[in-house]
């Protein structure tokens, strides 16, 4: 009884948060055209964040909740992206998109099929666009899920890292097939498919002017819906079976869980949502191109999941937005050279020295504490290394202060990604449980409530 009440409360809170988020996104995009024009980088981050968070959560369902270590996510996203793109390119522009292959083999687009029923302009046009895109998204997921089922038949019997490498292989095979010239009339070969409805197609226009921007609202809506379904699934008896498989396959089997069936189910559902995420990514990028969906993309999503905490949905979502914001926006400045004047140079030198000293002190303290706990012998070696590194950095700082150079060193194109990957390595090595571990945001509140109850 108690449990039921709480979960109802949780569902209500979740709905409320989702609604607030959606309203907030619409307001943000429309209310401040001066301060935050719709072309602001914030909206790019929000859109990409929404798309990637769905991809990350779908990977987390597999890796974090079922314990199947799969690296095929980019392949399923590719399937979704292409399905969506192929089904929604308007017939009018198909010939220009597929000009290398003398037109497309598929002669319809979903929104126009609906347009024939509801009318293609005004409210009818909007309805048929929404229905067409919705159907295309669902089909994108279904195609990905179907291929996941096919792939799952042979590979799901494999254990941990073999499974990882097999799914990675499948993603690469898919990428090769979609670039095959012989399939050109359908997939446009190695060229991109474009001109299909993207997020900005949902902006409500009147008389050539946009009245209401909904281009950020749409990915948010789809992502929130999908993530909500995943959460419901995880809290259902299927979800409990998945977690049981993650904890101990043999014990789960002994408790009467059909391993093959549940693994396949988890794999297909994860692929379904990855397919939807892929379709959304195609909408975000304005094109679908097989070249983009490499294993590097899977790694990116996997690293997001790890940063957020394997087995935490809210962790994945938060980590996605942090990751996207850092890589697209906050760390951008690292890619451009900075020329200082004498004042800012002094400030930089002082700040740098301070940071180095503080960091070194922190690490030394941490090491001493750890050494005391484990009584390990090589703490002196590590401490010496830290002190040496810190003094080298300080020496460089002094040299830089004296030298007449005004340009900040190292800052040029590509430095952002180096810093970024170092940060990721630090997270992987020292904060192994990620931001949230396997807890959810709601767990944090719950614990507080419990503490209050004890008082």
């Amino acid at each position: 009884m108690m449990q039921e009440k709480r979960s109802k409360k949780g569902a209500l809170a979740g709905l409320l948060i989702a609604a607030v988020l959606l309203v907030l996104v619409v307001v943000l995009e429309n209310a401040f055209p001066k301060v935050l024009p719709p072309t602001h980088i914030l909206f790019t981050v929000l859109k990409k964040g929404a798309v990637y968070s769905l991809a990350a959560v779908s990977l987390n369902l597999l890796n974090g909740f079922t314990g199947l270590f799969s690296l095929g996510q980019a392949g399923f996203m590719l399937l979704g992206a292409y399905t969506y793109a192929i089904l929604t390119v308007p017939t009018g522009v198909r010939d220009t998109v597929y000009y290398l292959y003398g037109g497309s083999a598929i002669k319809f687009s979903l929104q126009e099929v609906f347009g024939a029923v509801f009318g293609s302009s005004g409210v009818g046009g909007a309805v048929s666009l929404v229905l067409g895109v919705l159907l295309a998204l669902i089909l994108a997921g279904c195609v990905a899920a179907f291929f996941a089922w096919l792939i799952g038949l042979p590979v799901l019997r494999l254990k941990s890292d073999y499974l990882a490498i097999a799914t990675l292989g499948f993603a690469e095979i898919l990428r090769a097939i979609f670039q095959w010239q012989a399939l050109g009339p359908i997939t446009n070969g190695a060229n991109m498919i474009k001109s299909f409805p993207t997020f900005s197609a949902f902006n409500i226009k009147s008389g050539g002017k946009v009245v209401l921007y909904l281009s950020t609202f749409v990915p948010f809506l789809v992502a929130i819906l999908c993530i909500a379904i995943i959460i419901l699934l995880i809290n259902s008896s299927y979800g409990r079976a998945f977690k049981a498989i993650r904890e101990d396959e043999i014990a789960a089997e002994a408790m009467g869980i059909n391993l093959a069936r549940h693994k396949m189910l988890s794999f297909c559902i994860s692929a379904f949502f990855a397919g939807v995420a892929g379709a959304l990514f195609a909408m975000f990028a304005n094109n679908a191109q097989a070249m983009v969906y490499t294993s590097a993309m899977t790694y990116e999503i996997l690293l997001i999941v790890v940063i957020g905490g394997i087995g935490s949905i809210t962790g994945s979502v938060i980590a996605t937005f942090l990751y996207v914001a850092c890589s697209e926006w906050w760390l951008r400045f690292l890619d451009n050279g900075v020329t200082l004047n004498s004042q800012s140079k002094m400030a930089f030198n002082l700040g740098f020295a301070l940071v180095v000293v503080l960091l070194a002190a922190l690490i030394l303290m941490y090491q001493r504490r750890k050494a005391r706990r484990t009584e390990s012998q090589n703490r002196s070696f590590a401490s010496v290394a830290v002190i040496l590194a810190a003094s080298a950095l300080l020496l460089w700082d002094i040299w830089f202060a004296i030298s007449p150079q005004m340009q900040l060193p190292l800052l040029r194109n590509g430095f952002r990604m180096v810093v970024f990957s170092i940060v990721i390595m630090i997270v992987v090595l020292f904060f192994r449980r990620g931001l949230m571990g396997d807890r959810e945001l709601t767990d944090l509140f719950k614990r507080q409530n419990k503490k209050e109850a004890v008082k």
Partner: protein
């Protein structure tokens, strides 16, 4: 006929180069049960280092220096990224390996500015000779012999030295060998040193066939070498070598097949092979059958 010979020759050559990388994978997997995703990155970095070093140093200094630096890189990667995770679940270590390969790739992009870098022509290796009517680079001829020599040396090291014995013991049982007084950290470091050394040699041979290196150049040969290691039975050195040669030859045959778009499918073919092997005989050609204990 001439065509067939040239395909076979380049297949053997590429296979030999994969073999040198595959040994690194197979050694590390045998001991740590870790797919070292960073290995392809190390391979690529070795190529880049040769480019930068040969620009300022004569080749007879640059080549050995590249070998030494690559070994140091492999050693450092193990110490910094894998050693702290020794007690962590295997998945964490694998993620750490992915992180390292991401870091290596991004650093390479930063240093090169994302531009393809011209690989220096190595004297002798890059020169061509006519064999059976086709011009062939010396590197194609040399590779299989060099691989053979290195593999024989390696098996000697593993079968007849104390370090090799320790390596075999650690591969068999991690904890028991620790109890027997084997310093496993040294053994693991040694494994990475050997693996990186072979990857450096492999990169010199491999990139001689290509005009330039990009920061992602290591990923594909790395993955293929891993497939080779799985094919031969992961953990087995002769298996890795034979698997690599087979994959190299098959790949070149696929590339030459007379149907439209065969080159697109070279990579896909390797992975299809991987999946077939995993589905039919997961232990590979020479792998030991491991039974899971409950």
């Amino acid at each position: 006929m001439e065509f067939a010979i040239s395909i076979l020759l380049s297949g053997i050559s590429v296979g030999g180069q994969y073999a040198l990388i595959a040994i690194g994978y197979t050694l590390v997997y045998g001991i740590l049960r870790l797919i070292n995703f960073a290995h392809g990155g190390v391979f690529m970095v070795a190529g880049l280092m040769l480019i930068y070093l040969s620009a300022s140093l004569p080749l007879y200094v640059a080549l050995p220096l590249v070998l030494v630096l690559t070994v140091v890189l492999g050693f450092l990667i193990e110490r910094v990224a894998y050693k702290p995770l020794r007690t962590a679940p295997r998945m964490s270590v694998m993620i750490s390996a992915i992180g390292v390969s991401y870091l290596l790739q991004n650093t390479a992009t930063y240093v090169t500015g994302g531009q393809p870098m011209n690989y220096p022509t190595l004297p002798f290796l890059s020169e061509s000779i006519p064999i059976a009517g086709t011009l062939t680079k010396w590197v194609t001829i040399i590779t299989p012999f060099l691989v053979l020599v290195l593999v024989v040396a390696l098996t000697q090291l593993i079968n007849h030295t104390k370090t090799g014995m320790a390596m075999r013991a650690v591969a068999k049982d991690f904890e028991t060998s620790q109890l027997m007084g084997i310093k496993i950290n040294n053994v693991i470091s040694m494994t990475f040193i050997v693996g990186s050394f072979l990857a450096a040699v492999g990169s010199m041979l491999y990139f001689t066939n290509y005009p330039y290196i990009t920061p992602t150049a290591g990923a594909m040969p790395g993955l293929k070498a891993f497939v080779a290691a799985v094919f031969g039975g992961i953990g087995s050195i002769p298996g890795a070598v034979i698997g690599a040669f087979l994959i190299g030859i098959c790949e070149n045959i696929v590339k030459a097949l007379p149907f439209d778009g065969a080159t697109t499918f070279v990579d896909a073919f390797t992975f299809a092979l991987l999946i077939i092997i995993l589905a039919v005989k997961p232990t590979g050609l020479f792998g030991e059958k491991a039974t899971d204990k409950v």
